[in-house]
Amino acid sequence: MSSENREDAASTGTSSNVREFFDSFAASYGQGRYFELRRAAVFQILTPYLANAARILDLGCGNGIYLVELCKFDKLRRPVGMDISAAMLAKAREQLGSAAAFVRGDAAAIPFKANSWDLVICSHVLLFVKELHRCIADIARGLRPGGRLVMTPLRTCSSGCDRCLARRYSRSSAASPPAPRS
């Protein structure tokens, strides 16, 4: 499948409460000094790999906070962001316009061709995926030879990120998340 600007390419598997949860704070996600500094630290590590990565997928791109940084690297081709939350993608598109391509989809069913990506970024995403092995196998298939997947975090992070909290919430609240408070 092509990866250009498609919505609803796949939306199966991941529970709807995760999607609804992230829909609820698309406008504010990733804001604040903590997130800014964390992203900067991660990009400091990623920078050497970006130089040779023309095709990048941000899997679980949220409202586009990493894509905004990625688009600052001139040599990149148009990066692709995929997320399960329509509200997050709408915010990402608002920020980035045509600088990136977007796909609405579920990490449990990644809709891309084999050997598509030089770098796949999964920041605070895989902890929501029930079928981890299948997801990583899909990502591996999508990587070009020599390509890299970068995952973060590996487990509940020491600094208490919101996605870790979201997982705590989503795993134990099957049907009806409470209204967001912020």
């Binding site: 000094r33 500094l37 991660v42 990502i139 600094s159 795993r171």
Partner: protein, 102 residues
């Protein structure tokens, strides 16, 4: 670690609410998944520092999405206690690379 102290308190306060379950996926799960699919693995850690006011503000914003004002305030009280007299916090973000052979 600071986060553990914060969320130990958070967990106690949140007992009986939906915000209780721990993530089931471990570091080893990610590593095994990569290795089983033929990806090589490499670990790295991003480091950053945050001033006290920023971490309190960020946590307040994050927690407000999940918790009642009472829980937020109690959690922030525990943050204050954990911080002590520290003005800056050294934080880390662990990264795992899965690398496809060339």
């Amino acid at each position: 670690m600071l986060g553990q102290e914060i969320f130990a308190e958070f967990g106690r306060v949140a007992a009986g609410t939906p915000v209780v379950a721990e993530p089931a996926t471990s570091d080893e799960d990610y590593r095994h998944a990569c290795l089983e699919t033929g990806l090589g693995i490499e670990s790295m850690t991003a480091h950053f520092e945050l001033d006290r006011a920023s971490i309190e503000n960020s946590l307040r914003m994050i927690l407000a999405r999940f918790a009642t004002p009472e829980v937020v305030n109690r959690t922030l009280d525990s943050v204050q206690a954990a911080l002590g007299s520290s003005t800056h916090l050294a934080l880390t973000e662990p990264l795992l690379f899965g690398i496809k052979a060339s």
